[in-house]
């Protein structure tokens, strides 16, 4: 159901220490990626309460990206592991409310991976473009 005029709205959560810094590095390196993502900075990916993601999806946001530190690199030792468990569980639950689990994506991006940040965001944007608008969006 890919739609050429469809511009996905994507919410991102980035941990302060790795992914947010990686996103900044993409900027300093002038690496271009699609302008569909809007980031919210949190101190740790472990802060992301699954209810934030559900809220976003219920409001019609087409995809939610969560970026944390690579395993072993968490500034808070193990917050990223907690995030991983929670997101995995959430992804199992999503089909039951009619949402594709691919609309939620957790990635590890370090502070030195500006290029990787741009890559995963670009990839995610095309993936959501393929999926089409969030079925919960009004009027869709």
């Amino acid at each position: 159901m890919s739609n050429n005029n469809f511009e996905p709205v994507i919410l991102g959560f980035a941990c302060n220490w790795c992914t947010y810094a990686g996103a900044d590095l993409a900027g300093t390196s002038r690496i271009q990626y699609p302008p569909n993502i809007r980031m919210i900075r949190v101190m740790c990916s472990g802060r992301v309460n699954p209810s934030f993601i559900l809220k976003a999806l219920s409001l019609g946001i087409d995809g939610v990206f969560i970026g944390g530190c690579h395993p072993g690199d968490c500034h808070y030792l193990e917050g990223n592991y907690k995030a991983r468990k929670r997101i995995a569980l959430l992804q199992k639950m999503l089909p039951q409310v009619g949402i594709e689990p691919q609309r939620v994506r957790l990635e590890w991006v370090s502070a030195s991976e500006g290029g990787r940040f741009a890559e995963v965001v670009s990839e995610f944007v095309s993936q959501i473009r393929e999926l089409g608008p969030n079925p919960l969006k009004e009027g869709s």
Partner: protein
């Protein structure tokens, strides 16, 4: 309850960095129409003196109680803008940063219209959060002027003496029955060839004589509780426990030599030994060998242990040199994969060893040397890369150069003090470049080979660095941790205990209030990650500055555009 928010928004052109791609005047015009925004302006550089004074002027002029700067990244500029707010009498936690450069104008340079739309969305989300921001107060934690140094090797001793000389009280704990650590087994030191004991003994004596240092021998640290400023350590001396209160902790437990069981006849032939065992023999004058072969990188730089142990090439060169010096007629070969003799002194020392007749043969991991013998090592075979053929010669002593590996204590300390370990089990510092002797946990510092294998001079330098870092809060007498911490609303807490094991810093404990159980967070221990807040099923935990309501408002604000 809360006064009506009056938000001032400062949108930065950052010269052309933002202004050339994002239509800044359009963003300002848009922002003016957002709820609770009473003032919006644009600056060529908000971080310039002019920009900062614009913020300071606008706060009283428009009676602002929230400030937003839409510019670069909080990672570099948040302290500056927070300070401007504070100068104008506004609590710094009422400041919100919106990143429209690094994460907007710079990454969407070819789509200026979309970049402008995104900037508007981001500012709108920032306004939504700013409306809900709360002022926070930083607590002051007193720091006791005393330090626990774990490990009585030369590195630990150096840290202890340095702190004691500065006037701090030091508790130096060593698990063996004397001070000196690994150096007690070392014969001589490269590149000076002085005896290790000549260095260790006076240092140990200095420690014993120092009034500010209390030494605990044959003692281990059994438990540590508390936080920076007021740790309490339980020391175990042969079953007798003692508690000491300290303000800071330095970890200097070193590492140990890998014993390469089963490799090159080690453990099978009596004349196959490690470098440290060679040193012990040389020290006692018990070394005897006419044809000595050393094999470097045994158990190092291999797939299961990829790291270079850094000092062992020099150890091999040193011991080879010493053998040649005491017996010039002897033959000494060093079989190596690459020689690491970095810097000025090491390279000179290495060249000198060649002049003295130490022979170097490079081998390949694919075709390692072979030790042949019956009851003892008698011959070595090695593929000579330059001659492109196998050569063979008689040996009466084989010395294996093995890396340092982490002590088992690393893992115990890691659990006790909540310190991270790397993939090999070495303790991991907070930041390789910017915080090389610190941990993310405040008040705990690291030096020596517990971090990765290093030689003595680097170890002593790290010891001074760790002592210098530990002295900072102890000299000041207090620390003020960020007020971005979590707290528990005891009325809403059901005492389920889900949060307690989630906290990697042991900041959460369940306490009893009369007959009900509630979760309690010690502010001084909380690092502000918010992992507990992300899990509390009762919504009883508030993560200050990143509260649920604030994040939900940001999410809702994003949708308002679509």
């Amino acid at each position: 309850m809360m006064e009506e928010p009056r938000i001032g928004v400062f949108v930065c052109h950052c010269g052309t960095n933002i202004g050339a791609y994002v239509d800044v005047p359009q963003v300002v015009e848009y922002v003016e129409g957002l709820p609770n925004v009473v003032h919006a302006e644009r600056n060529l550089f908000t971080c310039s003196e002019e920009g900062i004074s614009a913020i300071k002027k606008a706060i009283p002029e428009y009676n602002l109680n929230r400030v937003i700067v839409a510019s670069c990244t909080p990672r570099t500029h948040e302290p500056l803008f927070r300070a401007a707010c504070e100068d104008a009498g506004l609590n710094k936690y009422l400041f919100e940063f919106v990143n429209i450069r690094d994460q907007c104008s710079w990454v969407h340079m070819r789509e200026p219209e979309k970049a402008t739309e995104k900037a508007k969305d981001l500012v709108r989300m920032g306004v939504a959060k700013a409306r809900l921001l709360q002022p926070l107060e930083e607590i002051e934690i007193e720091v006791a002027p005393s330090c626990l140094v774990i490990g009585g090797g030369v590195v630990g001793i150096s840290a202890a003496l340095n702190l004691a000389e500065q006037g701090f009280e030091v508790h130096l704990v060593e698990k063996e029955k004397e001070l000196g650590g690994t150096l007690l087994d070392v014969h001589k030191l490269f590149t000076t060839n002085e005896e290790a004991s000549k260095l260790v003994e006076p240092l140990a004596q200095k420690v014993k004589d120092h009034q500010k240092i209390r030494t605990y021998l044959s003692t281990v640290v059994k438990d540590v509780s508390g936080f920076i400023g007021s740790f309490e350590a339980t020391l175990d001396h042969n079953g007798t426990e003692e508690k000491v209160k300290i303000g800071t902790i330095i970890v200097a437990i070193g590492a140990e030599e890998l014993k390469p069981a089963g490799q090159y006849g080690y453990g099978k032939f009596p004349n196959v030994i490690t470098q440290l065992e060679l040193e012990q023999r040389m020290k006692k004058g018990e070394f005897d060998g006419q044809n000595v072969v050393m094999i470097n990188c045994v158990g190092a730089r291999i797939p299961e242990r990829t790291y270079c142990s850094r000092f062992c090439c020099m150890t091999a060169i040193k011991n080879a040199t010493l053998i040649k010096e005491s017996n010039p007629a002897s033959k000494v070969w060093i079989l190596h994969r690459d020689l690491m003799a970095y810097g000025v002194d090491f390279e000179t020392y290495y060249r000198k060893s060649m002049e003295q007749g130490v022979r170097y043969i490079r081998y390949d991991l694919e075709r390692p040397p072979e030790i042949i013998g019956n009851g003892k090592a008698e011959k070595v075979k090695v593929w000579h890369q330059l001659m492109d053929r196998e050569i063979e010669f008689p040996v009466d002593m084989v010395v294996l150069t093995t890396p340092l590996i982490p002590r088992a204590d690393n893992e115990e300390l890691s659990k006790m003090l909540k310190l991270p370990l790397d993939e090999f089990g070495f303790l991991l510092e907070a930041h390789l470049k910017l915080m090389p002797v610190e941990f993310a946990t405040d008040g705990i510092y690291l030096c020596g080979s517990a971090k990765w294998p290093i030689d003595l001079s680097d170890g002593v330098a790290q010891a001074y660095a760790a002592a210098g870092k530990a002295a900072v809060p102890m000299t000041r007498g207090y620390v003020k941790p960020e007020a971005i911490t979590a707290w528990v609303d005891e009325e809403r807490c059901s005492g389920c205990g889900i949060c307690e094991p989630l906290c990697p810093f042991k900041a959460i404990e369940l306490q009893y209030r009369d007959s009900t159980r509630v979760s309690h967070i010690t502010e001084a221990l909380c690092k502000g990650c918010g992992t507990c807040g992300g899990a509390c099923p009762a919504g009883a935990i508030t993560m200050n500055h990143f509260r649920d309501v604030e994040i939900m408002a940001q999410i809702e604000a994003l949708v308002e555009s679509t």
